[in-house]
Amino acid sequence: MAEQGAADLGNNNNNKPEASEGTIIKVTVKTPKDKEEIAIAEDASVTQFKEEISKRFKAKQDQLVLIFAGKILKDGDSLSQHGIKDGLTVHLVIKTAHKAADGGSTSASSSTSNQGGNSTTSSPAANPAPTTVPTGSGHTPTQTPNIMSGFGDLASLAGLGMGSANFMELQQQMQRQLMSNPEMLSQIMENPLVQNMMSNPDLMRQMIMANPQMQQLMERNPEISHMLNNPELMRQTMELARNPAMMQEMMRNQDRALSNLESIPGGYNALRRMYTDIQEPMFSAAREQFGNNPFSALGGNSDSGAQPSRTENREPLPNPWGPPNSSNPSESGGGTTGSTSTSGTTNPSVSNPLGVNPGSLGNGMFNSPGMQSLLQQISENPQLMQNMLSAPYMRSMMQSLAQNPELASQVMMNNPLFAGNPQLQEQFRSQLPIFLQQMQNPEALSVMTNPRAMQALMQIQQGLQMLQTEAPGLMPSLMTSGIPGVPTGGAVPSENPASSPSSAATNPAQQQLMQQMLQMFAGGGGSGGGNGTSQTPEVRFQTQLDQLNAMGFINREANLQALIATGGDINAAIERLLGSQPS
């Protein structure tokens, strides 16, 4: 039975079940391209196995290399020795003669050429010069979409090519890529922020130029650089970007062309298609969710975190201060925005950067486990917040939003969350400038990244809620008796009574705070109290400002900042002013 390496084809022992080798097993033999099931005797030798295989795969036996469980099966071995049983899979590599080289160097070179080969194999319209958009049908029109797709992909490359693996930048690139997807495109294009970005051809060009890939490309094909430098072309491309239908047309036409750009766009198209497949069901699902059962997640759905809050918000809340919560720029992505709500009247301050409205606690919003868990998550991972907030595009987005409140409010409005709730819109709009200002304030950011601060905030929420439930009648009496050392309002509280010369309501700062609290609670109770929407900080802190002035802090601007940051607490403000001289 010990056949030598030379295949003894006439020997029937291998195939016939009646042969003495025992049971026949079916072993799957898998090549990179193919898969076959081969029946072989259980105790056959590898050689015999290879004979079978060579017949089935039409290859010479010595071209066959069998691998099982990481081991190469040698002719002298037997199948059972390797544990090859019925139903298992053995891998096969059929060596092609000229590749069966021994030296490592050869494999290295063949790997390179094959890598190159990989790219070209996948783009049948293989045109090594990517710029000369292969359809070649006219110049500008075909080149334009090429650039556009170039934007889509190469811009992303630019981001990646800049060496930063910062995922936030990636997100930005991704968003840009999304632009070319028609459905998403119209959504995003409506976003004036994006339009701003897009209308800056210099920016775009810069991004592209920054990519070493692109630079290489340009060397190989000067046409590309011409295109980039042609403002006319750029503008056309921008127009194209704004017009989703045309975009789609062009994109479809350029399918083959795109694949020449080092085959990225090939996958990119697939990606777009894939995204379309996802977008559709997502949109309809979104509509359903919002439309059908708005209260389903009201204050208690532990799973969806910020989601219940979004859903809730769609409906007119009994509480006009009902936490708008959720996303400021939802585009900016992420839980950050989920927590950075500017609810009700509470102006965001450093000590209260979330602008958390304690009065809204009763609403069940912030108490929803989802919200809590969100805050918890955030507090547990300050790095995450830091990362998100420091994302460069986020920064610039914030800046542009801050500079352009209309823009920001528009962004808000576009967010379907707010679409159905004009109250929310109003609130948000009024809060916006302050909020944005706060976002700019690195203090605010750093507090958000400070887990202890976050925890403190949570405590504040809880405290306020307790207060509200325990002693709703407490409020008026607080007015006259001063604040108990309850954690309320900003981080101000306990300091305030201590700092104020008297606990009587005569202390203007205290009064301020009381007023604030009153407003909050009034809001919590219904429509009572005043409409606490912001008086400007200057007005609110007028007394404090005066005091600071009297003390010798003449920089009104800085004073104001400090007061805002500390929520009106003079002492804390003074500390800030003293401590942060350079800033």
Binding site: K33, I67, T96, N114
Partner: protein, 173 residues
């Protein structure tokens, strides 16, 4: 038994494309916890191999834009030497793993890593990696939240791979 063949260690490098974001935020946006958006590469013979939009590519271990992996899974040893492996990859590259076969959900870097791992060692890669796309996909559809970073996360996955393969397969490198 196979002492005449040397044994090459095989490892799986696992990267989280979301850099921690998925772990923190996925439960918000997807309604369930996803610990990471995983990208994998197989490291053997001193190189890291992976599959992206540009096809199969390889680089120095930890040499992609992702830097250091989140975790390294030891897949065992293989007798397959470099040449043989290269041939295997070549055939893959002509068939199943051409660049245009890339599909973010169904046929991605992790699919490739899984196949290669099985080829080299007979073992599969951990299931939490291969199960990811279906999890996310089902969640994305179910959650109905469209202003969500999740698609960007996945796109990022895709883009990274595209970029990596492009960088690495460019002729001058």
């Amino acid at each position: 038994m196979a002492q005449n063949n040397s044994s090459f260690p095989v490892q799986l490098y696992v990267y989280d494309l979301s850099r921690g974001m998925a772990r923190e935020l996925s439960s918000l946006f997807l309604g369930r916890q996803v610990d990471g958006i995983w990208h994998t590469g197989v490291v053997v013979h001193g190189k890291e191999f992976f599959f992206g939009g540009g096809g199969i590519a390889h680089c120095q271990p930890c040499g992609t834009v992702l830097g250091q992996p989140n975790s390294i899974v030891d897949l065992g040893y293989t007798e397959v030497n470099e040449d043989l492996f290269q041939e295997y990859l070549d055939s893959l590259a002509e068939s199943e793993y051409r660049g245009d076969k890339y599909n973010l959900f169904e046929h991605n870097c992790n699919t490739f890593s899984n196949d290669v791992a099985q080829f080299l060692t007979g073992k599969t890669i951990p299931s939490y990696i291969t199960d990811l796309p279906s999890e996310i996909l089902s969640r994305v559809l179910a959650s109905g939240s469209f202003a969500v970073p999740t698609p960007p996360l996945l796109l990022g996955w895709r883009l990274i791979e595209a970029d990596m393969t492009v960088e690495l397969s460019s002729p001058s490198s």
